[in-house]
Symmetry: C2
Amino acid sequence: MRALADPTRRSILRLVHDDERTAGEIAASFTMSRPAISQHLRVLTDADLVTVRSEGTRRWYRARPERVEELRDWLTDFWTAGLDELKRAAEQEEWPDRARRRQEPT
Amino acid sequence: MRALADPTRRSILRLVHDDERTAGEIAASFTMSRPAISQHLRVLTDADLVTVRSEGTRRWYRARPERVEELRDWLTDFWTAGLDELKRAAEQEEWPDRARRRQEPT
DNA sequence: CGAATGCGTAAGCAGAGACTTACACATCTG
DNA sequence: CAGATGTGTAAGTCTCTGCTTACGCATTCG
């Protein structure tokens, strides 16, 4: 989710949507420095939104469409299905008990 | 999009999904300070994800479901429909012309 | 009125995030 | 092997974000 929050990363994702591309090719599409793109690519791969394939010195990147769809489905679920359970969970916060857990619900 | 990137804001959104709630009620659901929630509510209202209604000294918040669905639709479009145009636009970056605009594509 | 309630805003701070330049490393190529 | 090529990593900077405390401003209520 956070990976998609950045516009540059969204652009990158679209670039490698149907064509495999090398890091250099991708970087050439932007004005910013190559390392910056490399870091964005790292975020995207960590989020499993793209896959990498090494070929010689080059690294080919490709999007993983199923992951984006996963995210869209999650967004749907977030909003409709299972809402009641989630809401109840959120409301539990209203009566804090001693076992206070880190604030990182879905 | 950025508004949904924060987990606290997502929780708030769910809280006011089907019930109108006051700022105080919402704040009581979290461990963090009330002003912090107030700021999150501001982000959400700025993003038109919730509406506010003043009643006396209280402020009632409610989610705008259509906006979330809008976002989900956007995500779908982002990934499927209109992809070619968007991709072409992104690739234009490859040949930067003098009129360089701020890096903020979709 | 004046105090109390319910909120938002201001200001400050610590940490995260998106860049940069400089560098390291692997792989091809002569 | 040595240089060139393609790429990731390190380290530093600047800005944004999410919090906090302190305060200000309406509204209600005694």
